[in-house]
Symmetry: C2
Subunit: 464 residues, 2 copies
Amino acid sequence: MPYFDAASAAPLHPVARQALLAALDEGWADPARLHREGRRARLLLDAAREATAEAVGCRPDELVFTPSGTRALHDGIAAALAGRRRTGRHLAVSAVEHSAVLQSAEELRAAGGAVTEVPVDRTGRVDAEEFARALRGDTALAALQSANHEVGTEQPVAEVAEACRAAGVPLLVDAAQSLGWGRVADGWSLLTASAHKWGGPPGVGLLAVRKGVRYAPQGPADERESGRAPGFPDLPAIVAAAASLRAVRAEAAAEGARLRALVDRIRARVPELVPDVEVVGDPERRLPHLVTFSCLYVDGEALLHALDRAGFSVSSGSSCTSSTLTPSHVLRAMGVLSEGNVRVSLPLGTATEDVDRFLEVLPGVVASVRDHLGAPVEGHAAPASAPQETVIDALGKRCPIPVIELAKAFPDVPVGGLVTVLSDDEAARLDVPAWCDMRGQEYVGERSVPGVPGGTAYTVRRRD
Amino acid sequence: MPYFDAASAAPLHPVARQALLAALDEGWADPARLHREGRRARLLLDAAREATAEAVGCRPDELVFTPSGTRALHDGIAAALAGRRRTGRHLAVSAVEHSAVLQSAEELRAAGGAVTEVPVDRTGRVDAEEFARALRGDTALAALQSANHEVGTEQPVAEVAEACRAAGVPLLVDAAQSLGWGRVADGWSLLTASAHKWGGPPGVGLLAVRKGVRYAPQGPADERESGRAPGFPDLPAIVAAAASLRAVRAEAAAEGARLRALVDRIRARVPELVPDVEVVGDPERRLPHLVTFSCLYVDGEALLHALDRAGFSVSSGSSCTSSTLTPSHVLRAMGVLSEGNVRVSLPLGTATEDVDRFLEVLPGVVASVRDHLGAPVEGHAAPASAPQETVIDALGKRCPIPVIELAKAFPDVPVGGLVTVLSDDEAARLDVPAWCDMRGQEYVGERSVPGVPGGTAYTVRRRD
């Protein structure tokens, strides 16, 4: 049963499993103790730190282990901001950072600080010059991911690092998605990562802080991990994380090239096989193993379940798959279609046949979901005459129904005529303009509907 | 090779190991995902939460998993204090809480709040009435351990909980050392624990918060663990923690009785076998598996290493074994001898022969350390006449040298004569009075030595 959600969590790498088992026997004691079990644990911890620092490209004393990538980000950002409190309270981040970064940004805003979210283009990439312009005299910290977790696009880390250096601003790089594939370009001041993304166990994050970076850990601390990550260390998991990072790095070049070719095949074939699909993210400057596409007139949750029944595990940034009923902030920032969104992220060792089988199955699965939702069959010529404005009341209806109703009404709209969709689903804000792009129709604009909380009227003009 | 440091960390319980291996195969995926691997992980997480809540004695939705006991304490205390910010900013704790609690207290003090440390008696136990008197109109939270981690003494949790209830103050109980042995008495509002203390894996802490307790998590949060513990959950470890808690509870009554008898033997035999030893902690109301004693004229670190060479792993609260060069705050709060301190904490399944062998080996090990340090051979009669005051300059010398020099000078002191020890070692503050207690001599008092940072003069009068 193919699992294509490696960017959420990967099955434990065989080397990690082996190292974990060994460390459960040898490394369960407290490395701070003086007895032989403690000393043995200390040796394992030191060796894991050295191996991991080597893979990260930093000194062992610059690296601490945290309980997760999220904690590394939360704690690292808080400490870096506090360390430069005198410079100011401004944080610059890309609009497509991991939610943990945006949670920290929200925390800063709530405490009276300021945040600039640098926008991205339609591929999900920030522009280094635009990022540079976001740096101010009071900028305490900048944060940029090495590559995006939802669409795979690589960010211009080296250029942004250079801009940060010139501005005297420390740069934190969230390398969660890329560290297994290779070192991050030089120039960062802080770096974070998460072991379960590269086939290590859960329970291990990395936080590297370059010597000389101002860093003031917040909250209570103990003597563990240089005072930067309190609590008894999860040594077996740390040992397994270090061993598996080394192992995946050893096969990264060959396996990366292989998965890159499989993803290229998905990127090329999906739009040929499935009508009305938008493949998103940068086709070249991207993670080897990850591709995301959105299907018009499809409910993301229904699509996920249908793929699951067909034996494929994927994830989705569609609003109907999130507890907040809003589309992923990444897709929103890119301004691309969010409905029927599918992220395919291939684990190491994914078989070519599994990808082929996915491409075989996908068209039927999408068609059945569309059929079930009553998605329109398109291609009607415009009528010669008809009412000049059509209003579709899709209030209370969830993604992708508003767009389906728009498409169904369209055959009756004359060229030059207007259609307005009333919707209180956040996804429509993204998906109605995206539909217009895909159909070559004119998106006129939106206005709020008085008296309806969240109600918005989206207007489209028929071009042909 | 007997390992007697279970209170620091215990080897993984066989049930935990088995559960961990199974969960590595079945529970590596993200439990927040909709695909089958995610749903399977979710089922495991829910089942682990239910089993653990049952063992704790709370509802599953009152319990979250944290990355460690320390993080449970740090985060739980911060959120409980913030939740009652309007009532006030006072925290009442016992003086012998785990350092994680005292770190949180220090954090509160630094932020302008107030802390009362309720003192303990010489067994390490707080008095419930004295604790009750520490509760004020502005007390936001009280914290009390179920049993002490260094000396094993059980605290009067039920009585203190009743006092807290009467005062309308929530009580946090740190059950790290006792949860494997049984449920904590009712009446707590928050409860914390740590899986690696009961034979579970590292990486799992527990934080239970009763419904209705005001609780405002601090710092950035995500959707994990009801917004109370951010970051990807370490599910294999959580599953192993739950399974091993159930397993150790099943054997707790029988194994507790067996270890209690072994500890009784140590408590009784050590003072018979080794001269000048003080066994500390409550002899009855205590953890089954833990005993602590201190040996006069012994360097704790040298004793640890000598026991280690003899094949026994123990820990110590002596100043010379800590990075801060101060004796354990627990021994200080109890006012007992800190030099030559040894904590023996027996893991489940400890063999009687190992304890017997420890008792065989200990006298020779202590004697050899004393011999190496030139500890005095005692029992001299007092001289008929001699100088009225002797001054011993032990400045710059570390525990236990100041006490050894005091004891060596004593034979030359006439009855009624004074001896003053000059020392800048923090341990002397505890150990000179403790020596007087053990020797039946009169401790006159201390005064600072002008011009010597940390320098103190301790004066003793010879009684017989």
